[in-house]
Amino acid sequence: MSPFSPGCPAPPGPLRPGCPAPIGPRPGRRRHHSALLALKPQPPSRRHPSAHRRAPRSRPVTGATMSQGAGGSSSLLLLLAGLLSALGPSPATSIHVYTQREVHGTVGSHVTLSCSFWSSEWISEDISITWHFQAEGSRDSISIFHYAKGQPYIDEVGNFKERMEWVGNPRRKDGSIVIHNLDYTDNGTFTCDVKNPPDIVGKSSQVTLYVFEKVPTRYGVVLGSIIGGALLLVAVVVALVYLLRYCWLRRQVALQRRLR
């Protein structure tokens, strides 16, 4: 069924009076933009609109039906524009914070907790960056770092006293901190939260710190090295054997030629 009026077949179907003509140029036909030309004497390929019973390939164009088809397409465009404008604004004006998922560190060394963010607004002076720490097995999340009005405030009384360092740069969208002299009590989840007024809606991001005695080797290093080493060894030995045999054969041939 045609979307424009009931009872009309969908194009390209047989044409009926009162139904809009199919929109768009037919291949191989010249297009006459003004529908009012219907009153002019038509060339033999054009049919009069009243001759609706002819073959569907003919194209009777009247002013009324043309404007009806155009009105239908413009209403569709309006609908699309409305949908897009409804969907448009929401994702663009929230702040996005990115950190690593897991960080591994060894006891006594230092580790960098990197936090970067993306904001659709300009970085203003009112930007605030906060770091919270939730120890492993604990339910409390304590605040350990705050940056506001261009000033960083690091922990001076808590667990991270004299161990934390601010290495971020809000202008460069970076809010990273460095923890020195790691200990097993630093195992836990660190949360980075950034607010850039008026862009304040957004999710904060978490990074989990694991402190080891020594950093474990990644899975697959031993596997890959054994397989690679063995295959390389075998390839080298086979190549050597073939080379030796080739040289020996050549020497045999040279000796035989000399003996003759």
Partner: protein, 156 residues
């Protein structure tokens, strides 16, 4: 003559199949409802779920040995067909035999390391599954197949 060739190829393919099955199937150690293998530990029962095995270095070396044995056996089969058509009359299938013997040695060392070191990554009290037995079975068959290749002379 053709029968001998067919028999040798069947033996080689049997070794290959044994190696593949024992490497892939999850049945090296069996507890009730609990199977462990080179790649994953699976629990059946009410809920069937599998976790990847530990990242122990010895387990990785066993995995590497099994993979190497498969690689060498496949290479040996490929080289056998190459040498079948290119070797001079009376020549011996040295390379094929050596690769097959290497595959057998790799399986043996992998299974041996697994036997000695499996308490490291799996609790005691499990019996050995059939994939483990297949791995040990593949070792003498691979050695025998390799020796046959070394002794065999090409006739036409």
């Amino acid at each position: 003559m053709l029968l001998l060739l067919l028999g040798i190829i069947v033996l080689h393919v049997t070794v290959l199949v044994l190696l593949f099955v024992s490497t892939i199937v999850s049945q090296w150690l069996v507890n009730d409802g609990h199977t462990a293998d080179l790649w994953q530990n699976c629990t059946s029962g009410n809920v069937f779920h599998c976790l990847t095995s530990s990242t122990n270095e010895w387990l990785q070396s066993v995995q590497a040995m099994m993979i190497l044995s498969i690689i060498f056996s496949v290479l040996s089969l490929f080289l056998f067909f190459c040498q079948l058509f290119t070797l001079t009359k009376g020549g011996r299938f040295y390379i094929t035999g050596i690769f097959q013997i290497l595959a057998g040695l790799c399986v043996m060392s992998g299974a041996a390391i697994f036997t000695v070191r499996h308490p490291d990554w799996h609790p005691e009290g499990s019996s050995y599954g059939f994939a483990y037995i297949l791995a040990w079975l593949a070792f003498p068959l691979a050695l025998a197949s390799g020796v046959v290749y070394v002794i065999l002379r090409k006739r036409e």
